[in-house]
Symmetry: C2
Subunit: 402 residues, 2 copies
């Protein structure tokens, strides 16, 4: 069976995702669509608005055949680690192609950029280091370095967030798995960062912004499949609200102020004296947003800080993160949900895999799964006691079947 992989967050699943799925299936001539999806916390260092089980359901309903969990340690990371975790898991699953959305829309441009970079790797690396030392955050340092090695003018624009991610996927595919073909679909309508909704297709960012301000208002509903709308409403009813950093602020406050500076420094992402700034700042803050605004500087981007705060919330140690991120391969592939097609594909593929395939975390003893458990504990800790116990139990249950 020919499988095509997609790398997703579905926060929430919207019309643009549906379009991308359908186009990818066609472009790849695939019989089975495999999504590798982030769990409870996302790449920008935020809790997903609804949990991974509900997002899995949404995906299976709309054309995905198999949902795998992108382990937390890769999911809450910059694009290189994120891509490594996602691409290598898909590679283990034997997918023949990886199809991503991008502002550019032409895969050759990505490949060309990659070849150009390979030729100028040393210059590029030096430039990145120089700009980091000048105090720039990593994305900006990297953008400047690309400028300095003169990416060909018909190449991709690496200031566009989906181009950056896509480029990172292509780099990973071309270096790691020559049997996988990278494909890209041009994103239509809204940019990733756009915060207004202009029609039937809108970015997840703009949809979330609408939802936060006005709930599921008409513009948000128009950008979502009916099934997503129903699901979001039912989740909100059951759990009092969607998940948002603001709900976790008291936990962050408690955690940061009951940790010693040494303990804070041992957390992944707490570097260069950030521990003192964190303690000083959170003592005065009365909301997550005011905390973040007081915390951020040129060196610390909003995203990097948010990721670090997730690591503090979950207690992700530097030493463990470095070890896990350094490993050649993800230690397992975990199934969150599947359709009949997905199940059939798994049956074919299972015996060819080099890493264990698991459907429940208790099937394997690995620190990465402990982190996953802690991510879920933290994620659900804002719920009422009965809900919390029930949701945590779900973590050890069987995958979603559709």
């Amino acid at each position: 069976m020919r499988a095509c992989g997609v790398i997703v967050e579905y926060n929430p699943f919207h019309n643009g995702h549906l379009y991308h799925l359908e186009q990818s299936k066609q472009e790849a001539d695939a019989e089975c669509m495999i999504a590798i999806m982030s769990g409870q916390f996302l790449q920008r260092g935020e809790p997903a608005i609804i949990d991974k089980w509900h997002r899995t359901e949404a995906a299976l309903k709309k054309g995905v055949d198999l949902v795998l969990e992108l382990p937390y340690i890769y999911a809450v990371e910059h694009s290189d680690h994120f891509s490594k975790g996602a691409v290598r898991t898909l590679s283990e699953m034997g997918v023949k192609s990886l199809c991503f959305g991008s502002e550019h829309g032409e895969i050759h441009a990505f490949e060309k950029a990659y070849c150009h970079l390979k030729q100028h790797q040393a210059t590029y690396d030096l430039a990145v280091r120089t700009h980091l030392n000048e105090g720039y955050a990593y994305p900006e340092a990297s953008r400047k370095a690309y400028e300095e090695i003169n990416l060909p003018s018909d190449s991709i624009d690496l200031t566009q967030p989906n181009n950056i991610l896509g480029y990172s996927y292509v780099k990973e595919v071309l270096t790691y798995d020559p049997n996988m073909t990278p494909l890209t679909i041009k994103r239509t309508a809204n940019n990733y960062h756009d915060e207004t909704i202009l029609g039937h297709i809108a970015s997840a960012t703009s949809i979330r912004k609408q939802m936060k301000q006005y709930g599921l208002s008409q513009p948000a509903r128009e950008a979502l499949p009916d099934s997503t709308v129903e699901q979001l409403l039912s989740y909100q009813r059951k759990n009092d609200d969607w998940h948002d950093w603001e709900h976790y602020f008291h936990l962050l406050h408690y955690k940061i102020l009951t940790m010693s500076c040494d303990e804070l420094r041992s957390i992944h992402g707490v570097d260069e004296g950030l521990e003192h700034r964190l303690k000083r700042t959170i003592k005065q803050a009365t909301s997550f947003e005011s905390f973040m605004n007081a915390l951020k500087t040129k060196r610390y981007t909003w995203t990097r800080l948010q990721r670090t705060l997730v690591h503090i919330l979950i207690g992700t140690k530097k030493s463990l993160a470095q070890q896990l991120l350094h490993d050649e391969r993800p230690p397992y592939a975990r199934v969150l949900g599947m359709t009949d097609t997905g199940r059939q594909y798994l049956k074919e593929q299972k015996k060819k895999m080099n890493i264990p395939l698991i459907t429940q975390p208790q099937q394997l003893d690995h620190p990465m799964l402990e982190l996953e458990e802690r991510a879920s504990v933290s994620y659900y800790s804002i719920l009422k006691a009965e809900k919390r116990v029930a949701c945590l139990k779900r973590e050890y249950g069987a995958p979603v079947m559709h």
Copy 2:
């Protein structure tokens, strides 16, 4: 100026406390009454129903001249450590007598018991160890050991909680400070553990129980001075409720399930594999009470478990606790509040003291004060954001003046 010391929690300040204060002052012929009071968390391993600043105010209003903070590390401990911290601080303050309430009411009986124990120390120690090994909790092991060394029949009944504490004070006074005279006042009416209120004088336990079930109902009001009633009502209005373990349960759940077993084992009080039991049990529990009921065994008394849970909440490391508890003297004496008499006494006494006298925590850099800060962070973490920030600020402010 002749000072008399009392060791208190005032949770809340009630008519029995007032009676004890007045009797002690008379009995000791004192010009200045000094109370050493536990802070945010108490000996039985519970949050105080209102914070230390309000309890200080209540004490100053009703006859105490100087309130000192019993450091957290002594306050949330069994009677020997508790007494050590309290008596030695009072000794540094130059008090001439220590007056405690007891069921027995005759100081000679306490002194006699102490002499008898000194003669049979080796037998007693061996018996305690034997009973601990048999699986008894410490209070029960100790009670059995006293039985075995045949305390004289006219001696104190060491199954009565205030006798136990008083005995522990007397032991500490007689071994540590020969210039201090121990005195005792017979407790009238209710026993410590009584849970019903029978009149004008009732135990703090029975008052808290009433308050928890019925709010400030008539029986509770009768056992409290009017000023306490007003204060409790105003605290409840300002902070939504009085403090209770149930309000902290979600934090405990989050904390225990995001700590590794190794991390849990490093916490003061987590011994003999308790970390596994804690994790297993809290995963199912939907309230603090159901959690405690599932957790307790013959070996772990309710009180010992609650103390351990406070240490988990605050992150009190075993290594630090052992070091601090082992020190010969408390590292400082901290003033929480004073009257004019108290201030005058301090002026006289200050130059004779062997340890620093502080009025604000930022005057000294000591791990014990860091713990105090963390105790306050944890204690206030259940409040709304604005309240939380304001209450935490109070921690660094000047003492209460009355």
